[in-house]
């Protein structure tokens, strides 16, 4: 649980770093378009992963995983 949280934190930092660096360094037009195209969806995905509500305990997590759409 804690492990995935930190992993998502690291990934969200890593994916938004190119954007922040790009704002400061002003790369050429083609590169900045490429950076925005790749890293806006990616960073928003990982930031969302960090922000999202999670099950609080390990027991809840197991309970949640039992239900799949083929499970009935």
């Amino acid at each position: 649980m804690i492990k995935t949280m930190t992993k998502n934190r690291i990934m969200s930092l890593l994916t938004s770093l190119p954007l922040i660096l790009g704002f400061i360094l002003n790369p050429p037009l083609v590169i900045s378009i490429g950076l925005l195209t790749f890293f806006i969806p990616l960073s928003s995905y990982y930031i969302g992963q960090v922000l999202m509500a999670r099950p609080k305990s390990k027991k809840e997590e197991e309970e949640r995983k039992k239900i799949t759409f083929t499970g009935y």
Binding site: F23, T37, S44, R54, T68, F69
Partner: protein, 290 residues
């Protein structure tokens, strides 16, 4: 207000933020218009944006049956494609043909999003995405037919041509109509939206929730903005060619779209494809005959 240097990355980023917020408001307005026509009060204007924000803090569960990492990557590809289309089209006034490509990526993503889950309901949506691609791709080409007149598909040249020679809607009215049909197909609750149909449990997005749905909705706001922009600027560019006029005209067109979406029922899949094909063929005939 402090302006960042033109074509710097911050400038491009601010443009994306502005467009997605504005298009979110437009989609809210669209829902409000539909509600008023159906004599309901309707949701507040910011409802679409609240939905998008809500999905960013909802829990994301990935189905056991899904094919990873396709499940995540293909949804992000849809948003990325529209970011590219927005930057190349409305912001930098580059070649229109890249927007065609982005639309193609959008259709591929719709297909992949449905398939990657392994759910039979999402598969229905993705099958319909392939079906609708056959008629929507010719519609995306309709604006490109102005090449016959302007001899250029760079959007800046198209605008310049129209400022000198008057709007292209007077010369190619049926191509403009086909583009308008394309804009309709990308609005929510539209008659041709067989991919998002409620009869197949919201189509290809059935198994996508949480952050991925939020990113998808962000991509759809940009898609709405880009296609509306293309319709207005490629065919009415003689009059509508500054940011203020473009944004105002977008509000006007959204009202019209609201009326159309409120008053038309959902068309059956094959009928939808046939109707769209008829408009696309009319556009091609218009160009060939003149």
């Amino acid at each position: 207000m402090i302006y960042p240097a033109t074509n710097s990355m911050l400038y491009l980023f601010l443009e994306i933020i502005t467009a997605s917020l504005f298009a979110g408001l437009l989609l809210g307005l669209h829902r409000k218009v539909i509600a008023r026509i159906q004599r309901r009060p309707g949701p507040p204007l910011i409802q679409y944006m609240l939905h998008t924000l809500k999905f960013f803090i909802k829990e994301l569960t990935i189905p056991d049956t899904s094919s990873m990492p396709l499940y995540v990557a293909i949804a992000l590809a849809l948003a990325g494609a529209w970011v590219l289309a927005f930057l190349v089209g409305p912001v930098l006034l580059g070649p229109y043909i890249i927007i065609i490509m982005c639309y193609a990526v959008h259709k591929v993503s719709e297909h992949g999003i449905g398939l990657a889950t392994g759910s039979p309901y999402a598969k229905f949506g993705s099958s319909r995405a392939v079906l609708s691609a056959t008629s929507e791709m010719p519609l995306v080409v309709a604006p490109a037919l102005v090449f016959v007149r302007t001899n250029s598909l760079i959007l800046q040249d198209i605008i310049n041509y129209q400022i000198i020679n008057g709007s292209l809607v007077n010369q190619l009215p049926l191509a403009a109509l086909a583009t308008f049909i394309l804009v309709i197909t990308k609005t929510p609750f539209n008659p041709f939206g067989i991919v998002y149909g409620k009869d197949i449990i919201s189509g290809f997005k059935t198994e996508h929730f949480g952050v991925i749905r939020g990113v998808l909705m962000f991509g759809e706001t940009l898609a709405f903005f880009v296609l509306l922009w293309c319709f207005l600027v490629i065919f009415f560019g003689g009059v509508i060619n500054t940011p203020l006029t473009i944004l105002l005209a977008m509000i006007g067109v959204t009202f019209i779209l609201g009326f159309i979406c409120a008053l038309t029922p959902m068309v059956a899949p094959y009928h939808s494809v046939m109707i769209q094909w008829i408009f696309a063929l009319l556009a091609i005939a218009n160009v060939l005959l003149i």
